[in-house]
Amino acid sequence: MPTRRNFSYYLSRFSILLVVLIYLIPIYWIIVTSLKYGSDISAPFPKFFFKITFENYQKLFASKYFSQLLNSIIIGFTSTILAVGIGTLSAYAFSRFKIAGEDDLLFFILSTRMLPPIVVVIPIYLMYTVLKLRDTHFGLILLYTTFNLSFAVWLMKGFIDEIPKEYEDAALVDGYTRFQAFIKVVLPQASTGIAATAVFCLITAWNEFAFALVLTEVGGKAVTAPPSIVSATGKTGYDWGKVAAGTFIFLVPVAIFTFLVRKHLLRGVTFGAIKK
């Protein structure tokens, strides 16, 4: 049967286009700003036709920005892997075994998300000073893993609850150990959930600013990209061209990662809303 393309079809297409445009404007803005000369950026009326320059990117290359971006990549991805890994294992335990005080424990895990993280900035600063974790990769990885863990446990528990127990039972009867059954049966089926959880965790860790600023020293060895971009001040206020160039490069790794897992993501974020 040919699809009937009526008014509501075009309306929905148009709405989607509109929303996408609105979302893409800031990114467009960042890209064009990163390619403009300083005078074009500060022009009172936005210039849509301008002379393209790679000056801003050259300035970035000259700075420590890329080593700081590498910090972001190391810290962001490591903490994501840890949070998703530990989160999946504990979610599996919560989902499949009888755990004394399960509800209380789950609530406790959730409660760590109930206050804005900034509230604990000072205690953590003091703790990290004593433990000599300030301005270390490990310190930030530990912190971001902790932040993301509660989220990962809750989200993954939802996904694992959906996987029928029979699959593992069958594997157990077939001669697999529980761990093998987990690897061979549960993980492949939880891949959607893992991808969705990983994207959310990565974005949280990637974009984190407050702790990254407070717990690192200016020009220190564990500074990540977000505080680095902000510190791109020139002699006459912010060097917006450099900020835009840094921001654009900062967007790329997450965009690539999200693109790679997009198939899983679509099902992951609509999880629960649509029955398979």
Binding site: P164, D169, D174, G175, Q189
Partner: protein
């Protein structure tokens, strides 16, 4: 291949007793069916045998080897589940090879065994498909193949065909029974469908609330139900069950049903129950004969409804109202060529019956 013995196994979930003191002996190569309503403990029994549930009490033996403490992997059983039979992320071939992988067989042997079973089940052409591309019957076949590749000591099947439509179910019944006999692997088969039990089982155990109500061949449980639970469960339609008061006059024993309806009971049966006065009377629908005119030893009833099924006709007859104004009906199975009308007055002859103790519900076998 193995015989299976359960010795007074007990399993509780929280405070709920799922199985209490269950004893069961399944012979080598036997096709044994566990029959019962939902929640009767059939699946729990199977899961206990597989080792998926830990027993609270009792022991399980395969060929006199204790199994109670072994983990599921060491018991060498194959489990066919009711749903979620195949892993959706693996192809049919991989699903069937899955139980062989932990056994570290050479790749070529795995391939050969899967091929052999696939040929046997006529599913070779499906091997490279994912479960989502298989129909219900094909899924069930692959699932069966999955259990067969390993040649386990015991097959455990938990309602493997109850999700299929009626026609396919009938086909699979024959198929499963035939394969089981061909392979000679001891099989425990769980179902709530008494037709499946009757048509497939060498022996059947009827379960209710974690207890065994009766064990026997299908014919035994049909003809000699041990209690009113079994009587009301087995057969389609099942036995007519109703209260009956026994009395003796002129050396003959009469059963008085509701009102003043009196039926002459077969001597041997009635003798057993006479001491009790009040019993449950159980009559198979085919043991009631409908006569258009009055004959000896008949009671007068009215046709309430009938279902002409082609090979037979099931007639509901109305006996009247009991003391609480409930309509009492009986189902009779009559030949398809016998005509009846709704509302017609007919005479009912009782040819055989069973009686059960009024209080315990147990069959009365001797005085």
């Amino acid at each position: 291949m193995a015989s299976v013995r359960l010795e007074s196994i007990t399993k509780c979930f929280d405070d709920k007793v799922a199985l209490s003191q269950l004893d069961l002996e399944i012979e080598d190569q036997e096709f044994f069916v566990l029959l019962g309503h939902t929640g009767a403990g059939k699946t729990t029994t199977l899961r206990c045998i597989a080792g998926l549930e830990k027993l609270d009490q009792g022991d399980i033996y395969f060929d006199n080897q204790p199994m109670t403490e072994l983990d599921p992997a060491s018991r060498d059983v194959a489990f066919v589940f009711q749903s979620h039979i195949l892993y959706p992320h693996l192809t049919a071939f991989e699903n069937m090879a899955f139980p062989l992988w932990p056994r570290k067989l050479p790749e070529i042997e795995v391939k050969r065994r899967v091929q052999d079973v696939a040929e046997m089940l006529h599913i070779e052409h499906l091997l490279w498909r994912k479960p989502a591309q298989l129909s219900g019957g094909e899924t069930q076949r692959v699932g069966l193949g999955r259990a067969m590749v390993r040649r386990p000591r015991v097959f455990l099947m938990d309602e493997p065909i109850s999700n299929l439509d009626a026609k396919l179910r009938a086909e699979m019944r024959t198929e499963i029974k035939w394969r089981q006999k061909q392979l000679g692997i001891t099989t425990l088969y769980v179902t709530h469908d008494q037709i499946e039990a009757m048509s497939m089982a060498d022996r059947v155990a009827i379960l209710d609330q974690g207890k065994i109500m009766q064990i026997g061949t299908p014919i035994e449980v049909y003809n000699q139900p041990a209690n009113i639970f079994v009587a009301g469960f087995i057969g389609n339609p099942s036995m007519n069950l109703m209260t009956c008061w026994l009395s003796e006059s002129n050396g003959e024993i009469y059963g008085q049903l509701i009102g003043h309806l009196q039926v002459a009971l077969p001597e041997t049966i009635a003798r057993k129950g006479i001491a009790r006065e009040e019993v449950w009377l159980g009559i198979h629908p085919e043991n009631l004969v409908i006569h258009p005119q009055e004959e000896d030893n008949t009671i007068v009833v009215e046709v309430h409804n009938y279902e002409a099924l082609g090979a037979e006709t099931i007639v509901d007859v109305n006996l009247g109202l009991d003391e609480t104004d409930q309509r009492i009906t009986m189902k009779c199975r009559i030949p398809p060529d016998q005509q009846v009308r709704v509302g017609q007055t007919v005479w009912l002859e009782l040819q055989a019956c069973s009686i059960f103790d009024r209080d315990t519900g147990q069959a009365i076998k001797s005085v």
